[in-house]
Structure formats: structure tokens, C-alpha cells
Point group: C2
Chain length 732, copies 2
């Protein structure tokens, strides 16, 4: 938060906390805990860095919505229990942690979930094949089942040690089992640590601001964190449709051909993405159309628009000598190049302006709707890294180490502002992010491709104001193809990424064969199945859009782990393969060739989406499901609007809804309506469609608000009793 923003809340209470230095020579240091927004306290320790996530964020805390969450009088974290010390290495903090508290967050982790007992590193890392505490999106934020969140406001490559250190005088330090270990696994098994504390180690810092976010529940703490940063991003309606990314070696004709194929065969698709080949030079980037491969970009864009496609362009920020703005941006770039390309310092308004002016004039104003921002991450533990080194220096004052933790965010801001300036929404892809990113209209992706990790990413992103897309690339079997596509459908962004093969993956799942233009014998069957799976996404767009509207207004993550909704239910603490999409749908993906899995349903009534069968919560069920169907459960009392699928979304699309009423009584369901493409909704040009249903009165619809054009039309109501099996169902 900038000083100006802080000054907006001069009336919040100021408390004095004692901050003690730890270790051999404790020093008593007076620090102030300042409430800086409803339910948010800042505790300043020492002399914080000037450039931090908060200082760089263009955030406007949504204070009204934060008040709506409840605004407690005092910080849920006992500030007097925070201890810290400064050494020549930097600053080390000790924050209290309740004995039973489970810790989540720290960014987009793909391998681990519950972070209790773990060390997390604020290092942006493109290599996510093993868990080393780093992440595509290191966020120095965690939330605990104790019901609060903590942001340590630093860009430094800090490490968080969540209850896995033992001090010399701890009363209950760990003891080893008596049996002699004869495997290294037994030797180094994680020890049970009974003395919990969160240690935060911040290199080179002289101080730091700690922000505490009140709950009282972990979900509310996350919402408060998201609202503090400005609220969650709301996608344009087309952003909730399907993305297809074409082969890297495509030229105009091949891209158009594939786009025509999609339309002719009624495969839903809203966005067509071009990979590096659109540029005259890539790695690093010229940002100019390739005269060989894309000689007539205006005609290409027009043809794509004519077919109802939004066009997305791949790029990274490293600016090739032949980029038209190379010389202009050089003074505002770092002292180390990447692939011979300049690294713009996007913390500088001049760098953003130069980058934006070119992108706006040459690309956005000519019809480009979104971007894929590649390689803004780094390789901290690789022997042959390609990004700028940690010791690089940027004209805005950051070193490379800190810039790595800001580069993805600053790049998103640079591109995001392009669209905001034009009162348009965008919905892009990005490979790095960080703290306070909730308002940014970009969804994270990775080169890593393990399916369970992809699901875990959906859950972990939800703790930290991040969004993650588990894209479909190749598949090892038809089952794998369908299962992965289902996960892509039940995620913030549904992407079919065929950048490395010319035919769609359902023509040929094997990359080598795909490149040789071999077609699977099962192609037609696979195409039908894929169309059905993607149509499910399209039928959920109104529901999803509503969940994202909630994200924008209340900060509630549209995709989230069960533990956020049921923190008191210990059985949810380690569930990393089921999640909520919005308030009413629980998705439990299947993987590879698995035909069944165990699904835990929290307390309450649940209904199988496919069969309508009712399940009582609080226990686990073995769920079987054919490959074409993902296990889905709808919360009892939900009104679930399902649209007739459209192939793509236009400004005039009106969704034709069948509203399923699960059990009785049902909660009202609010759908938000607006133009779906601009930011006018944020200025009030929005309507609320409230769906109500009771067994006695049946369904009714009430519409309020300023946006005149209806976006949804209820065609039918379908009560689901839990006994009958609706016509769509077979398995479950």
C-alpha cells in the first residue's frame, strides 16, 4: 500500500507492541501495529525496503467489502509475541503458530499442499518437477486454520520455516523412534515438531512490514487479503470459454485452417493463441509480425474475428535488438540481457509506457485480445540458467534477486494496464506471479505436466490470490486425454495447448506421431468426447462468471481447497485432489487410467452432478465414473444454472439456462449480468439476476440493477430429489 493509501485510514487504532530480538543478545524494540484497512494490521519492524509487493502494487483496498467481512478490534496475531533480529545476513522473524494450526499458501506449489512442517522459499522457479519450496509464483503470504493470514512484505528471496525448527531450549523437542532405521527414508522421515513457530528469514533486509489479515475464518482471511490488494480479477466472458494454442511452426494459412476446423466441427473455442512464430524474431522478441509466416496480420485478425475468435499472442519481455522500441527502452532496462534481449525495468513508468505504447498501437488496437507472457520466471537452482542473474541491477533500484520476484507481476501490470486504459478486459496466461496478484487478469501455467500436481495447483493458488490453469497438452491414452481435459474444464482457464504439434491432441495424442500427421483410429470418438467435455465448460459459464464476480466483489477465490470452507473438519486438512468451484460444485478429478477414487464429502447433503443421487457428507465414498465424466458433486440447497453450450461467446450471447434445484429448501442464486467485455460493471453498469425456487412455488427470477440487456434466460427448472436419476445420467 502506498503512503497515500495508508493515509486514508488515519482513524484506525495504533497499538504499541514489543518486538524482541531473538538469540544470544535480545534487544527490546518498540514497534507499532497500525490498522491499515478493516481487519488488516501492519507491524513495522526496523527499516523496511522501499520497494516491496505493497509499494509496487497499484492496489485500491476494497474497504467496504472488507468491513462486510467483519472488522475485529485487534489483530488475531498477538503482535507482542513477534520476535526478530537483524544480522549481516538480513532479518529473521519469529511469528507464533498455534499447536494445531495448519499452514497453507506461499504461492503456487504443485507438489506439496499443507505447508505445516515445510520450508517455502520465495524464489520464482520455472522448474516445478520437484518440490524445493520455490514456485512459479512465490507469495510471502500464508493462512492458517487458526483463522488469520500473514503477508511479509518483501521482494527478497525469503524463506518461511513453518514449524520445522527446534531450538536448543525447546521443552518438547522431537524424539526419534527407538527402532533402528535401515532405509534412508526412515532415517530422514519428517520429524514431529511439537514446538511450533513460523520463522521467516529475509536476506539483506534491514527491516520489514508484516501485515496481519483477520478472519475469523481462513476463508475470510484470504478474502481480506484479496480485497486488500483490490479484489479478484473478473474475466471477460470469452475468457471463460476454451483456448486453443496452435503449433509453433504454423504460418497464417495453417492457423486459419485449424480455426476453421474448430468451427466446422463445433468444437467450442473462444480464443486462438499464436506461439513465437508470429514474430520476426523470438528468443528474444522483436514484437513484430514475421513477414514470412504472418505477412498479412490485419487480414488474419479480421478473418479470426470473423469466425468469432479472440486472438492471443505469445511473447516474453526480453527485447530483441530489432524490436522497434529497443533503443527507446534501453535506458530503462537492466544491465544484463537474456537471449541478447534487454530486460525492461517495469517498475519504471517510462519502461511501462514505452512497452505499452508499442503494444497498444501495433497489437491491441489492431485487435489482439490477450497475451501469453512467457519466461518471466527464473531458474534459481539450475546449473545453466537463462534468466538475468540475481546480481543484475535495474535502473529503478532493484537487484536481480528482487526483480525476479516482481518481474512477472510487473509484466502483468504493464500488459493489464493496456486493456484497462481502453476500458477492455483481458484474460491472459503468465508464467510467474507473486503477492497481491488477485486483481491481475492473468492465469498461471507451467511447463511441468504431472496431472496430480496440476490439480494441486488449482487448490494452492486459491490460498494466495492466484489463478492456475492445468492446460491440456499431450496424453498417454484416451482416458488420460479426457481426464486432463476435465481438469482443464474445471479450472480458471481452459486451455488446449498444441504448441508442439500440428494437429489437435484428439487427432493423435502421441506427439511424434502427431508431427508426422498420423491420425489415431479413435479420432472421431475422441473428437466427440472432447466436444462433450468442452461443452460442459460452456454450460457452466454463467455459474463460473458469477463465482468470478464474487471474487471481484468479496475476494472469495472461485477455486479453493476444502479446508478453506471447512477448516474445523480435520479430514479436509490434507485433501489436495478435490476442490470447490464456486460455492456449490465440488470437483474430484480422476487421473490417467483410474476408473474410481475415494471422494470425501464434507458435512451436509451432496448430489452427484451426473445421476442426481444424494450423498450424505462427513464421510468418504468410492466413486466410479466413466472416462468421459469427471466426478462432480453439487451442494444440497444449490440452484445450479446450466446453459445450453455455445461455441463461443459474443457481446450478444444470451445464455439459455436450465436451473437445477438440488434438494429443498434451496438458497437463492444470484447471477451477475453486464456487458461482459468492459469495466463498466465496476462503475455500476451491472444487473443482478436472483433465481429462487421452492417445491411449493417452483422457480422465479428477479432482476435488479443498471445493465439493460439480459444475459441469461431461464428456460427450465429441474428439481433434483436425490432419488430419481435425471435423464443425462448413466454412471455415478
Amino acid at each position: 500500500m502506498k503512503p497515500a493509501t495508508r493515509r486514508r485510514h488515519p482513524s484506525f487504532a495504533v497499538a504499541i507492541v514489543m518486538v524482541l530480538a531473538i538469540g544470544a543478545a535480545p534487544r527490546a524494540v518498540a514497534a507499532r501495529a497500525t490498522q491499515v484497512a478493516p481487519g488488516v494490521w501492519r507491524i513495522r519492524l526496523g527499516a523496511p525496503d522501499k520497494q516491496t509487493p505493497v509499494s509496487f502494487s497499484p492496489m485500491k483496498p476494497v474497504t467496504a467489502a472488507m468491513k462486510d467481512l467483519g472488522a475485529p478490534d485487534r489483530s488475531p496475531l498477538d503482535a507482542g509475541a513477534i520476535r526478530w533480529r537483524r544480522t549481516d545476513r538480513g532479518v529473521t522473524l519469529e511469528l507464533p503458530l498455534g499447536d494445531a494450526d495448519q499452514v497453507y499458501g506461499f504461492g503456487l506449489h504443485l507438489i506439496t499442499f499443507n505447508q505445516t512442517g515445510s520450508t517455502a522459499a520465495m524464489l520464482v522457479n520455472e522448474n516445478q518437477g520437484y518440490e524445493d519450496g520455490s514456485s512459479h509464483a512465490p507469495a510471502p503470504f500464508y493462512v492458517t486454520t487458526g483463522g488469520y493470514g500473514v503477508l511479509v512484505d518483501t521482494l527478497r528471496p525469503a524463506t518461511f520455516h513453518a514449524g520445522n525448527t527446534e531450538r536448543a531450549k525447546d521443552p518438547h523437542a522431537s524424539e526419534r523412534p527407538k527402532e533402528i532405521a535401515v532405509t534412508t527414508g526412515d532415517l530422514y522421515r519428517a520429524r514431529a515438531v511439537s514446538t511450533k513457530r513460523m520463522m521467516v528469514d529475509i536476506p539483506a533486509a534491514k527491516g520489514v512490514d508484516v501485515y496481519v489479515f483477520a478472519g475469523p475464518t481462513p476463508l475470510k482471511a484470504v478474502q481480506r487479503y484479496n480485497l486488500f490488494s483490490g479484489g479478484g480479477a473478473v474475466p471477460p466472458l470469452w475468457g471463460l470459454g476454451v483456448y486453443y494454442r496452435g503449433y509453433g511452426r504454423f504460418a497464417e494459412p495453417e492457423a486459419l485452417n485449424l480455426a476453421r476446423y474448430l468451427r466446422e466441427n463445433h468444437i467450442p473455442c473462444d480464443v486462438f493463441g499464436l506461439e513465437p512464430g508470429w514474430q520476426s524474431a523470438a528468443y528474444s522478441c522483436s514484437f513484430k509480425w514475421s513477414p514470412e509466416r504472418w505477412p498479412t496480420p490485419d487480414a488474419f485478425i479480421a478473418a479470426m474475428k470473423g469466425m468469432g475468435f479472440e486472438v492471443n499472442l505469445w511473447e516474453h519481455a526480453f527485447t530483441h535488438p530489432t524490436a522497434p522500441f529497443h533503443d527507446a527502452i534501453a535506458p530503462y532496462s537492466g544491465d544484463y540481457t537474456v537471449w541478447n534481449g534487454l530486460t525492461p525495468d517495469f517498475t519504471l513508468p517510462e519502461a511501462r509506457r514505452i512497452f505499452q505504447e508499442y503494444h497498444g498501437r501495433e497489437l491491441v488496437d489492431k485487435g489482439i485480445s490477450s497475451f501469453k507472457l512467457d519466461e518471466c520466471d527464473a531458474q534459481p537452482h539450475q546449473q545453466r540458467p537463462w534468466s538475468f542473474p540475481d546480481f543484475a541491477q535495474f535502473p529503478g533500484g532493484l537487484d536481480g534477486a528482487r526483480m525476479h520476484n516482481l518481474f512477472g507481476l510487473a509484466y502483468q501490470r504493464t500488459i493489464g494496464e493496456l486493456f484497462t486504459q481502453r476500458n477492455r478486459r483481458t484474460w491472459g496466461k503468465v508464467r510467474s506471479s507473486g503477492a497481491l496478484a488477485a486483481p491481475s487478469p492473468f492465469v498461471l501455467y507451467s511447463d511441468y505436466y504431472e496431472h496430480r500436481a496440476y490439480v494441486r495447483g488449482i487448490l494452492n493458488a486459491g490460498f494466495c490470490g492466484l489463478l492456475w490453469q492445468p492446460e491440456l497438452r499431450e496424453a498417454s491414452s484416451l482416458d488420460d486425454l479426457y481426464r486432463r481435459t476435465q481438469t482443464a474444464v474445471f479450472s480458471p482457464q481452459t486451455v488446449i495447448d498444441c504448441w508442439f504439434m500440428p494437429q489437435p491432441s484428439w487427432f493423435q495424442i502421441d506427439r511424434e506421431k502427431n508431427i508426422r500427421n498420423e491420425v489415431m483410429p479413435e479420432k472421431d470418438q475422441a473428437e466427440r468426447a472432447m466436444r462433450d467435455i468442452l461443452n460442459l465448460r460452456m454450460s457452466l459459464v454463467p455459474y463460473l462468471y458469477s463465482a468470478f464476480s464474487d471474487y471481484g466483489r468479496t475476494g472469495k477465490p472461485p477455486f479453493r481447497a476444502l479446508v478453506l470452507d471447512w477448516p474445523d473438519d480435520k479430514k479436509t486438512w490434507n485433501i489436495d485432489d478435490e476442490y470447490m468451484m464456486g460455492d456449490d460444485i465440488l470437483a474430484a478429478p480422476l487421473f490417467g487410467h483410474e476408473a474410481s477414487r475415494s471422494v470425501y464429502l464434507p458435512k451436509g447433503d451432496w448430489y452427484c452432478f451426473w445421476t442426481g443421487r444424494r450423498y450424505e457428507g462427513g464421510v468418504s465414498y468410492d466413486i466410479s465414473m466413466p472416462a468421459e465424466r469427471i466426478p462432480l458433486f453439487v451442494r444440497g440447497g444449490a440452484l445450479l444454472p446450466l446453459a445450453e453450450p455455445v461455441e463461443h461467446i459474443t457481446p450478444d450471447t444470451v445464455f439459455q439456462l436450465t436451473v437445477r434445484a438440488y434438494g429443498s429448501p434451496c438458497r437463492d442464486r444470484v447471477l451477475f449480468e453486464d456487458d461482459g467485455f468492459t469495466n463498466d460493471y465496476a462503475r455500476g453498469l451491472q444487473a443482478k439476476l436472483t433465481l429462487s425456487w421452492s417445491p411449493e412455488k417452483g422457480g422465479s427470477v428477479a432482476r435488479t440493477g443498471n445493465y439493460p440487456k439480459p444475459r441469461n434466460a431461464v428456460k427450465a427448472w429441474m428439481p433434483i430429489s436425490g432419488e430419481a436419476v435425471p435423464p443425462t445420467a448413466a454412471g455415478g
Copy 2:
């Protein structure tokens, strides 16, 4: 080097070099280049840390031997070309690197070899399954084919970037290939960097001393580095025999049984190692005998000694509350515990003394000959680390981050001094080491177990004054068993480590079956083959002892990569699977089921050890070899002494030698003789046995020196002409 040591060389020339800060605001800083030993220069930049590898090392530079290497007038590195800057992150150095220079070193790397283009991290890491620049033994030392070595004297977790960064104004920055990449491998392939420089990034430092070691060859630069640190370690004679480590769940009777089996079946073995079960508490350590498993340690040791075994004990330094010296060492320990054990600060004489007094009185004086020092490494990139954190504080002033890079060295010093104080030699195992370790009588090991990596470790260790043992554990086949044992035989320490299974691996290579006491049908055949392979080790002991004597006197690594002897031969630059053992034997291990491999032989004549067949060097050969034989080549002109194998070595052992004369003329071969067990040799109680041979005069032996008892007796001379196949040979 301590100040006192520095003052020994007041007469060396002092040069003034200009050290320029890099980046936006260069500052000219006057720094002094001081010659501190023959051919060694120190360049002081800023205010170096007080505690460094040099300051902690008890080293006594062997200046006479350094002079013998030649003592050039000026530093081979143009000190004026060194640039540096200090920021709040620490210190960043830029050192020149010749365009064609190949870089080696940085510690015990197991995955990579030639470090040109790589980033190496000075992080001690027990996880070596993937290469991330860390190592069991991070040594901030590198040597180049340009003919010099550089030590950056810091304990900080520095990173070295060997020619893989490009600056904004580099004239010849990298260009990407024109073809569009469609795999991530192609995308991120290491770029060709044409502008070379060595960047060194040192966190938290305010300055640093850079030591430059003259060559003129890389081998001489390495020798000079080793001599600067005090010269290489010379093992006791028994240290060159075979080590066997028994099952972790053994008690006294089982250990004695296995020892008896070895003797009854004439399997060579000098050292029997006990795993954690000997202690009453382990993880952390009580350092007391287990009353259940080892109730009569004195009788046990006596029985083992009676059979001619030296006894080795496993331990780590983390001191359990039940350790007798726990309370005494507490004030000299760090503020974080590991497995509830104190971490002694071995930089403090008090901590060393307390640890040594107990170990000396209770273990060494009761007959223990060596130790296995486990877990003195760390887990910098793991989510669930077990070692002390980087932010730990030690009473001697080090933080945890620096202590990690010293802990293994300081632990070795503590244990090593125990034996020096008693005028005994030891030869132990250790899992972490670092800079200036050449005089330390410990050999590195790892939990990692990939065979090619194990061979690579032998080569890489040789660049940095380290020793590495590729121990035998389980095997996937009989071939794999033999091939791995051969590598263990051609290494600084031959270890058969069965800590995780009760029977020797040649009874049953499969761990699970071994634990169930299942015996392979091929056990007898395997036992015979293992005996033969281990006997080869025993026959090479006089040759090896001589190579280690060279290591002690001249710093020449007994095991080394071909590039050190043939730096001008580009074909050697990337050979990571062949190496020299001493001056005359080239070993080229085979792996797994491979029956043949390509072997490059440098210029000159070479002879197959097995067939006597002559090979002309400068080219590669396809070499086939049965599983029982490792490809070995002897340098033309060598006199190779081969002893009749003994099962174990005693103070009275006299090796019965057959001396093979390879080609003609032959160089004299010097064998060093002494008691083989004490350090009296260093005080002159040593004899030189010079073997000479010519076709005309045959063989002759001349003995000079003070040690009276003969250690070797030449029984036969065997000329190898290159045509005839000697009686032992069949393959090759």
C-alpha cells in the same frame, strides 16, 4: 592462512591493482595483490569476513614444495581486470576468463564435469540426485585450462557463474538458432556464450580475499592449492585396504560372525564399520555403547583386533541429551538443535576439546581407528530439512548459512586432531567437506548411488583437494555388482557398505531378499569374483601408497581427470568417465551390463593391464572386457609394482612385489616406505625404494632414507613388450 602465517612471507612483492566497481556507478578502489606463498597471490577486496576457509584452516603451506613447482614473478590472473561492487545483497566480483578456458572444480559435483557455462552454488547439500550447483563439498575454488586456480575465500553461500551471463553492452551476445523450437529442450538449450567472465556473487559479504594459484599448468595450480593448504592427506596403510560396513541392526554376535566369515573365506578386509546401532541413542548421538547391542565393547574390539580388523564407528555430531558431555558442550553449541541434539560449534577450541577428550578417552584410546562422520551436510532446497537453519547462531560468531559450509571441515578437524595428538593416522568417511581440505584424512561419500555419477565424483574431487569413495551397496545384477566393486577398488577408499542388509551383497544383491536371508544361487561364483576384484586392490596398495605419498609431498591428486595431465588436448576436456590413478594407471570403468565402451587414450604408448597389448595414444578405442575385469591401461615406460595380495595389512606386512616393466625405456619408480601407521614419516622416518629397469640390465632396487624396516620386497620383474600376452590375460 592466519595472519601469523602471512607474516612469514614479508618479502613477496606487493602490487597495486585497480579494482573497479561494475554497473551504473563504478568506483575505483585500490586493492593490494600480495604474494603470500610461492606462486600464490592474495587480492583483498573491501573488508573480508573474519571467519573464512583460510582463517579456520590449520594449514601450514608446504612452501619448499611450492617453490619446486616453479615460482613465477607475477599472478597469472591480471589483477587489474578484476572488478567488483558491494550492494546491500553483498559483494559481486567479476574475474576474467579466457575465451578458450575450460573451468573445473567448485567441489564434489556428481552430475556435471566441465563447469564452463555453469553456475555453481557454495551450498552443502546431501541431495545429489540432480545437479543444482550444490555439492557435498562446496569448494569456492576453480582451475582452468588457462593454467591457474582461484580460491574465493568465503564461507558464504556464494554462487559462481562460469561464463554464462551476458551484459547489455556485450559485443557478441548470444543469438538463437533461426529454426522455431517445438520442444522445451530446444527452447532452453544452453546458449553459446561468447563473452566469457567469471561472476562471483557473495551474499552478505562486505569484501573478500581472492587467492590466485599459478600453474603454469592446471595440474600444478591444483598442486599449489593443495600444498598451500598443507599438502594431501596420506592414509595409514590399512586405509588402502577394504572397508566392510555391517548391517544397522547388528549386535556384537552378528558383527563378529560376519567378521569371522570374511577371514574364513579370505575376503580381504582391513576395516570393519559399525553403524548407529553401536550407540545407546542415535539420531541424535549419545556416543555411548548400547548396553543391549554392544554390552562388552572392550571384548568386541579385542576380538576384532585379534582377527586383524580396524574398527570404524558411525556417528554424527548432533549431541543427544544423554551424551556424557552434553551439558559441558552446551555453552559452545548453536542455538538450534537437530533431532534434539546440540550442534557443537567446532570453530571454538573449547568445543573441540570437550568432544575430543571424550572421544579420545572412551573410543580412540580403547582401540577405535576411524570414524564415519554422517549428516554434517544439509538440505538447502528441501521442503523438510533436518539440519540447523541458515539463521542459527553459533557462539563463535558464525551464522547457520556459513556454518553449513564449514561444519564438515570443522568436524573432520576435530576428529582428525584426536589421532594426530596420538601420533596415529586415520582414514575415515565424511559426508561434507569444503575448501582447503587436502590434508584431512577423510573421504567423502553420499546416499546418492548412480554409478556414472560415482565415477564422475572421483574426477571432480581431484580438482579441489577432495577425495571421494564410490561405495558398493546393492546391485541390480551380478555384472552391476562387479562393475561397482571395480570402481570402489579404483578409488581413494574401497568400501562395501551393507548397513541396510544383513548378508554381504554377494550373498544376495537384492536388498529385500537379503533381509529375508535369501541367498542367490550364484553366491559362490559371486564370492570368488569379489575376492579376485578385491585382491586386485590389495595388489595395488604399494603403488597407491606411493601415489598418496606424492599427494602429501607435492600435492598431486592421486586420482584425477585426464584434463589435468593433458590440458592442451581438447579431447580430454569433457571426459568424465576415465581417470588416472597415480601417474601410470588409466582406469575406464564399465557400467551395469555394458560389456564394452569407448576409451580415449591420450598421446603416448599405453598397455592393457590384462593382456599387455600395446595401444597408441591420441585416439579412442572400443574396449570389451568381461564383467570381472575393469578396463585398465598402463602408461608406456611405467614400472608397475604389483603385490601378492594380503587379506589385511599389519605393521609387519612386507609386500611381495612383481614389477611389470611396460615398454622400454622405463622411468624409475619410487616407492615410499615407513611404519605406515604413525606420522613419523613427516618427521623424516621414511625410506625411498627406487626401482630401475632396462632391457639390458634388468631390474635393480636402491634404498635410501631413515626408516629401517623394509616394507616391500621385489620378487620378480616382468617386462611387457606389447606383443606377447602375459599369462594372466584373456580379454582386452
